[in-house]
């Protein structure tokens, strides 16, 4: 099979096994994107099944639309059949897509809550923290946004869940580093 033919066949996206997460399901949030002022996507979380090509297309279009918005403009805009709620924090844009019937002011509040938790966890969070610790940013996101719905955890539970795992990781790292040094010197 030629390379071009393979490309054409692969571009016809097969229906994902997660068929139920269709666009028509009434989840609160459809997806969340974090991108820099240069348009580089730092984090993306999709709450409905969508193929890679469409994801790339949606991301590219949205990034270009949001980056063109001026600072004092409203944080909401309509795009295709979604409502987009975005907010800029320093060099990062936090962008969410919600249903037409959803409360945009509440979505803005959800974004703000996520940023507050990131700030508390990383201590004065900046874009670099998200770039080099994106897995922690995902863990935190999972604690309060699951399957597109907002969970209502108590303020500190989110941080406790991630910090507990962190403490265990640090203990293990130290133990492992010590062990590997000892191994090198033949002292294990």
């Amino acid at each position: 099979m030629s390379h071009k033919l393979r490309q054409i066949i692969s571009s016809v996206q097969p229906e994902g096994i997660n068929q139920g997460w269709s666009r028509k399901s009434c989840k609160m949030m459809k997806f969340m994107l974090l991108f820099s002022r240069q348009g580089k996507v730092r984090l993306q979380k999709w709450f409905y099944a969508v193929g890679d090509k469409e994801r790339k297309k949606i991301t590219r279009e949205l990034v270009s639309i949001v980056l063109l918005r001026k600072p004092k403009m409203c944080n909401f805009l309509d795009w295709k059949d979604f409502k987009i709620v975005y907010k800029r924090y320093a060099s990062l844009f936090f962008c969410c897509a919600v249903e037409d019937s959803d409360n945009e002011l509440l979505t803005l509040e959800v974004i703000h809550r996520y940023v507050e938790i990131l700030d508390k966890y990383f201590g004065s969070v900046c874009e670099l923290d998200i770039i080099f610790n994106f897995e922690k940013a995902y863990f935190i996101l999972d604690e309060f946004l699951l399957a597109g719905e907002i969970q209502e955890p108590s303020k500190n539970r989110v941080l406790r869940a991630v910090e507990n795992a962190d403490a265990l990781q640090e203990e293990n790292q130290e133990a492992e580093a010590t062990r590997s040094i000892l191994e090198e010197f033949g002292l294990s």
């Binding site: 994106f134 500190n156 869940a161």
Partner: protein, 559 residues
């Protein structure tokens, strides 16, 4: 073939993955810098991933963690199908890693890698991951259970619902609230996929709604919403329960940890109001609502935080739907609406205009007190606000003011550039104008004005309607219309507009020779221009056909 620099970077990245020492953050920083050099080069990324796969089994735990982070990074980037296939091959490796991990952190990382792979790949990995996930959901450690339930939400597909369901249902009675709430959310995602498997779903929701812990109660609200939306009539006792919960929340009976900027559990309050929108209206529960709503509005009125406005927005929505304009609640709602519309924040103004449109659809007279604000918003620099104002103007159209408002809306449409919005709005405008079909002459000239304002992004609906009305018009109207076409052709028009005019002239030319000749001249000039510039040959050829038919009709008329 890799260039010299690419080669060097590639080898450096591979060496870094093999290294044991060094602070993780420094390594990852340089590693990601290296990866971003590869970004546009699929072959290099593929080679890099294959390298990682071969190194994985023999590496230390520290190295494995780095590899997994790289895999998560790559699966988020939406590369081509070859790389996707290669990433899919990591499934068994990651599952083995999860099963063998001894710490919570490693399990968490493993599960995150798995969910990223599932999101980007969604193939057999789902079926491979089921057993591991089931084992962890059945574990004794609550942190493990919550982690596994997170994954179960991503894993859920129609085939796997019967497998996951019994295990998840058991967790609904766990002692920890976080486990119960996550189990409920997982159950909800299964319900959305395959409701026929969930026989006891309504009972589970009822129990969760009455749960002592607010977290579980909050998680159950999304489930209640879906269930009530599907069948409002069979859940007539739900509104009473919800209003009771709302009262407790608004009065601040929840622990302080659930309050945000002075508002107690705002998400719960908003969700409950949304569910009440879907319920069947009953006078009993409707009568108990005004007190709660007034309390909500009083507590939020003086709070300047965004979350207070979010709650007020939902309150106004509820009041406008449930109560008549003569009711006191409606008047209080209008009073609060003024707060939105006179806020200096664009977000509040946009939300206020949306609410005002809702109010206007119910009682148009409520809008008059906000006339100044509407006039100001029409000139607002923000496109979202201008768009919202246009939608509001649509709602304000009556038999008396339709001409003024439509002309104003067309003038506003001219200023928009976004193709998607212009197309949809031009169609909406045309539909609104068609309500006044008794005034044929005005209707056709309005449709022409819409075509002119929308330019290249006009909806095809508008051009079709012009031709339809033209075909039904009387002979005097036709001659008046042809004169109008003559006027229009003096200015610059879009290609679609020239096409419509060519069609009209082709079918209905009854003008004198001279004026028709000048019309045809303009159209022929356009044809030349289009043939030179337009890529879409079918469009240009259709244009030329209509032009030819108009010329032939004219020559027939001459003879």
């Amino acid at each position: 073939m890799m260039s010299g620099i690419m080669n060097k970077t590639f080898n450096y990245a591979v060496d870094m993955l093999r290294s044991t020492y060094g602070a993780e953050s420094v390594d990852m920083k340089t590693l990601f810098q290296a990866l971003s050099t590869f970004e546009e080069n699929d072959e290099v990324i593929l080679k890099f991933l294959k390298h990682i796969k071969t190194l994985f089994d023999g590496s230390s735990l520290h190295q494995k963690r780095k590899f997994l982070t790289v895999v998560i990074f790559c699966s988020q980037q939406c590369f081509g199908s070859d790389i996707k296939l290669c990433l899919g091959g990591f499934g068994p490796v990651v599952i083995t890693y999860i099963e063998r991990s001894k710490t919570i952190w490693d399990k968490k990382l493993g599960y995150l890698t798995l969910t990223s792979l599932i999101e980007s790949n969604s193939g057999e990995i789902i079926y491979l991951a089921v057993n591991t996930t089931l084992k962890d959901i059945s574990s004794k450690h609550s942190v493990l259970i919550t982690m596994a339930l997170d994954v179960a939400c991503h894993l859920t597909s129609v085939d796997l619902v019967p497998v996951l369901l019994p295990v998840v249902e058991k967790r609904l009675t766990h002692s920890e609230a976080s486990v119960r709430s996550k189990a409920l959310i997982t159950l909800h995602s299964m319900y959305r996929l395959a409701p026929e498997f969930l026989l006891n779903y309504h009972n589970h929701i009822k129990v969760a709604l009455s749960d002592r812990n607010p977290e579980v109660m909050a998680a159950s609200l999304a489930c209640v919403h879906d269930v009530v939306k599907k069948d409002p009539s069979s859940h007539s006792n739900i509104p009473k329960k919800l209003i009771f919960i709302l009262e407790q929340v608004v009065q601040g009976n929840l622990p302080i940890a659930f309050s945000r900027h002075g508002i107690s559990a705002p998400n719960v309050q908003i969700q409950i109001l949304k569910i009440l929108h879907c319920c069947e209206i009953d006078e009993k529960w409707k009568a108990s609502l005004p007190n709660v709503l007034s309390e909500m509005m009083n507590r939020c009125q003086n709070n300047k935080n965004n979350v207070a406005f979010a709650v007020l927005y939902e309150c106004i929505h509820t009041v406008v739907r449930l109560y008549k304009p003569s009711h006191d609640m409606f008047k209080s709602a209008l009073h609060i609406l003024r707060k939105f519309l006179s806020s200096n924040q664009a977000n509040h103004l946009a939300a206020g205009l949306e609410l005002l449109t809702l109010v206007t659809n119910i009682d148009i007279s409520c809008c008059f007190q906000f006339q100044n604000i509407i006039m100001k918003s029409m000139e607002h620099p923000d496109e979202t606000i201008k768009k919202q104002t246009l939608i509001l103007l649509q709602a304000l159209i009556t038999n008396e003011n339709y001409k003024v408002i439509c002309s104003h809306m067309i003038r506003q449409l001219d200023r928009f550039e976004k193709p998607f919005f212009v197309k949809s709005f031009s169609e909406k405008l045309a539909i609104v104008a068609e309500k006044f079909v008794h005034d044929q002459g005005w209707l056709i000239s309005t449709l022409h004005s819409i075509m002119r304002a929308a330019r290249e992004n006009v909806s095809p609906y508008v051009s079709n309607r012009i031709l339809t009305y033209f075909s039904k018009a009387s002979s005097t109207d036709v001659s008046a219309e042809l004169k109008q076409c003559h006027q229009l052709l003096i200015g610059e028009l879009s290609f679609h507009h020239y096409k419509v005019i060519a069609n009209i002239i082709g079918k209905y030319c009854t003008l004198e020779e001279n004026s028709l000749e000048s019309l045809i001249d303009v159209l022929i000039k356009q044809a030349h221009l289009q043939l030179k510039t337009t890529v879409n040959m079918s469009l240009s050829s259709r244009y030329c056909c209509s032009l030819i038919s108009s010329v032939s009709c004219w020559s027939l008329c001459r003879t």
